[in-house]
């Protein structure tokens, strides 16, 4: 090093005055903080938070109870129909009734819902005809044509990939000035998809009226929740997108309803999206083609059986004098009758027309498709 450069370096040391810097105090600051709230109103013993539970009338509680019984009856019958070969592979909702029905009932009929394949309870709560669901699970795609006025998108089979659709629909509602919300259901597994990230990120940036409902049932087939993310909760991911996330006891239908209703109201006030993590449990195998005993213990399942949503609501309603054995017997009987009637309707339905394979590809069949309809003998 030359003398001149040494001198220059020394000069630099003096002007930057390291001694002064040593005395300066610039503490590391916390610039963002978040906390994740957990909401429970009725615990597994049927004990309730008095002030939170007071907003529910007896008829609300009955509606919850009866819809859960109906969905459970639908589910049990679907499982037996599958065993009898009368429908195909089916994804059970056992244990998740509160997460599905509590949230679905918090939306208005004008709102749009985007379910995944394990949402029979959501659809039933929203008045989707059960016979159509049985048709669908029997492999008849006409079952996914939501009747007019039922604003439910067809179930998404590719896990988590439908999250951005709800963002887009909610965005369109906002741009058109409609006071509505879009809700989307996906699993703990689905929350690992890039689609989840992109959908929530857009929702935050454009502040759209969407409600993201993660059905954290602890398993994605054989992969436990801890393998999906190192984060402590799924709810907290919302904070990275600039909006609120909350975890609720997904087996407490009152908590699920309350959190969802608040999120829907907030969305409609123009205050943006919310992520709700419903902390629940898949009590059955992943689907009728799965054997969960290969990857999880009986003890774990038994423990969760004690927390399932009907038990606690029943206990609470009994305490309030709203539940009696006769009442439950009567609604169970009614549920079974209506489910049986729906199955009869489903099975008596005309077989699908092979031309449907082509008919719904485009608004108008292409010239090639018109020829194919004739070649295959599907249209005269």
């Amino acid at each position: 090093m030359s003398i001149a450069r040494l001198a220059a370096a020394f000069n630099c040391f003096l002007t930057h005055n390291i001694l002064a810097d040593r005395l300066r105090y610039m503490p590391i600051q916390t610039i963002e903080k978040f906390e994740v709230k957990f909401l429970q109103i009725i615990n597994e013993k049927g004990e309730a938070d008095g002030s939170l539970v007071s907003s529910f009338t007896d008829s609300d509680l009955k509606k919850f109870f009866e819809t859960m019984i109906l969905a459970r009856t639908f589910n049990q019958r679907a499982l037996s129909l599958q065993r009898e070969g009368r429908i195909g592979t089916y994804a059970s909702i056992l244990g998740q009734e509160a997460s599905q029905i509590g949230s679905a009932l918090a939306f208005g009929g004008e709102d749009w819902l985007f379910p995944s394949f394990r949402e029979s309870g959501v659809l039933i709560a929203r008045g989707y005809p059960m016979w159509m669901l049985y048709r669908y699970w029997a492999g008849d795609e006409r079952g996914m044509k939501a009747p007019p006025g039922v604003n439910i998108f067809p179930m998404s089979v590719p896990v988590g990939t439908h999250v951005p659709h709800a963002t887009g629909a909610a965005w369109a509602m906002k741009l058109k000035g409609h006071k509505k919300a879009a809700g989307v259901y996906f699993g703990d597994g689905g929350s690992s998809k890039g689609d989840f990230h992109e959908g929530l990120n857009f929702a935050g940036v454009f502040k759209v009226p969407a409600v993201f409902l993660c059905q954290n049932n602890q398993w994605a087939i054989s992969v436990p929740r801890k393998r999906q993310t190192a984060a402590g909760t799924i709810a907290q991911k919302a904070y990275a997108y600039g909006f609120e996330g909350v975890q609720v006891d997904g087996n407490d239908i009152t908590a699920v309803y309350r959190a969802t209703k608040d999120a829907v109201d907030k969305a409609k006030r123009g205050e943006g999206p919310t992520l709700i993590e419903c902390f629940t449990y898949r009590l059955d195998d992943h689907t009728t083609s799965d054997d969960a005993s290969r990857y999880r213990s009986k003890e774990e399942v038994e423990e969760w059986k004690g927390k399932e949503p009907l038990i606690r609501l029943r206990l609470y309603m009994e305490k309030k004098g709203v539940w009696t054995k006769d009442y439950e017997d009567a609604i169970a009987k009614k549920a079974l009758e209506s489910v049986d009637a729906e199955i009869k309707k489903a099975e008596g339905f005309t077989p699908p027309d092979p031309a449907d394979i082509i008919r719904y590809t485009y608004a108008e069949p292409t010239p090639r498709q018109k020829r194919e309809l004739k070649e295959f003998g599907w249209e005269k």
């Binding site: 659709h165 963002t167 629909a169 965005w171 992109e198 959908g199 990120n201 608004a363």
Partner: protein
């Protein structure tokens, strides 16, 4: 009527269609303030405001996925993917959803949206900015694929694409954006999808091409008496126009920029073999890119079907 390039023609189509139909919204990366990296959407933000010309996060899946929800709800989104090579992140949304929501819901829901993206070799860019992957989309029932070749058809086809009730992939040749100027009517007009254009009439052989390659195929045809078909819509393609021409000439050459194997030329060749074998006097030939990754600038001229390679194919079919 004024002489404009393809960038201006597309801009006109967007602008006029947005004036006509308040449900049309644009979204994509840099489409607003910057007017798009090719300036295709220039001036539209100030004209229509940030609710209709939307700069999005850098998120191809998110752009296409959100556009699906918008379209299903009742808007008519025109999504821009900055370069075709980046659409791959969003393919799942196109393949698993946009193309099949009508079918999945048995007609209850549909996805009337347009995905515009520049394709092909043309601007000496980094890797993945020169892709020609039209065949991927042509294999996917439920979407339509459109490739304009001139300012006139770019405007008219885009208007039809926006009005179409299904998802349309609209591929804009980056090489052609500013290289051709032609008369384009000032007023709004549309050119039907699914119909080819007889770019040049002739009798000795038929050339089928689209986008950038159409022009090269035409230049190479200088002293041949051939019929040149500009396919314009690849899915569904105008089978009748191809068939009539092949029946007339008895020879067929397909020219495209994309790699040969599984390229869309294969579909047209197979179609001719199935429907017109009795009329064919020569083997059907494809002039296409090699079976290789599309190279960067220094090798791209070697990659693209050259005038010589195209002429050789013309001579070969004429030698039968």
């Amino acid at each position: 009527m004024g002489k404009v390039n393809i960038v201006a023609a597309i801009n006109q189509a967007l602008s006029q269609e947005m004036e006509r139909d308040g449900d049309v919204v644009l979204l994509g990366e840099d489409v607003g303030r910057d007017g798009g990296v090719f300036r295709v959407t220039e001036g539209l933000l100030s004209k229509f405001g940030p609710d209709r010309v939307i700069d999005t996060p850098l998120s191809e899946l998110g752009i296409i996925g959100a556009a699906i929800g918008m379209a299903a709800y009742g808007l008519k989104p025109v999504a821009e993917i900055q370069f075709m090579g980046f659409i791959y992140a969003g393919l799942e949304q196109v393949f698993s959803h946009a193309s099949r929501i009508r079918s999945r819901s048995r007609g209850r829901y549909s996805v009337p949206m347009v995905i515009r993206t520049p394709y092909g070799i043309g601007i000496k860019p980094p890797e993945l900015h020169s892709e020609s992957s039209e065949a991927l989309f042509c294999h996917m029932p439920g979407v339509k694929v459109v490739v304009p070749s001139t300012p006139y058809n770019a405007k008219g086809l885009l208007v039809s694409a926006i009005r179409d009730p299904d998802t349309v992939i609209f591929l804009e040749a980056s090489r052609l954006y500013r290289s051709i100027k032609a008369d384009v009517p000032d007023e709004l007009y549309s050119i039907p999808l699914g119909k080819a254009d007889i770019y040049q009439e002739g009798k000795d052989f038929t050339v089928v091409s689209w986008g950038t390659m159409l022009h090269r195929a035409a230049e190479a045809a200088e002293d041949f008496d051939c019929e040149i078909i500009d396919l314009m819509t690849l899915r569904p393609f105008d089978e009748e126009a191809v068939l009539n021409s092949v029946k007339k000439t008895g020879r067929l050459v397909i020219v495209h920029e994309a790699p040969r194997v599984g390229g869309f030329g294969a579909e047209i060749a197979a179609f001719a073999a199935e429907e017109a074998i009795g009329y064919l006097k020569a083997p059907v030939l494809r002039v296409a890119g090699p079976d290789a990754v599309i190279p960067m600038a220094r090798l791209e001229d070697h990659y693209m079907p050259s005038r010589d390679r195209i002429r050789k194919a013309y001579e070969t079919v004429m030698s039968y």
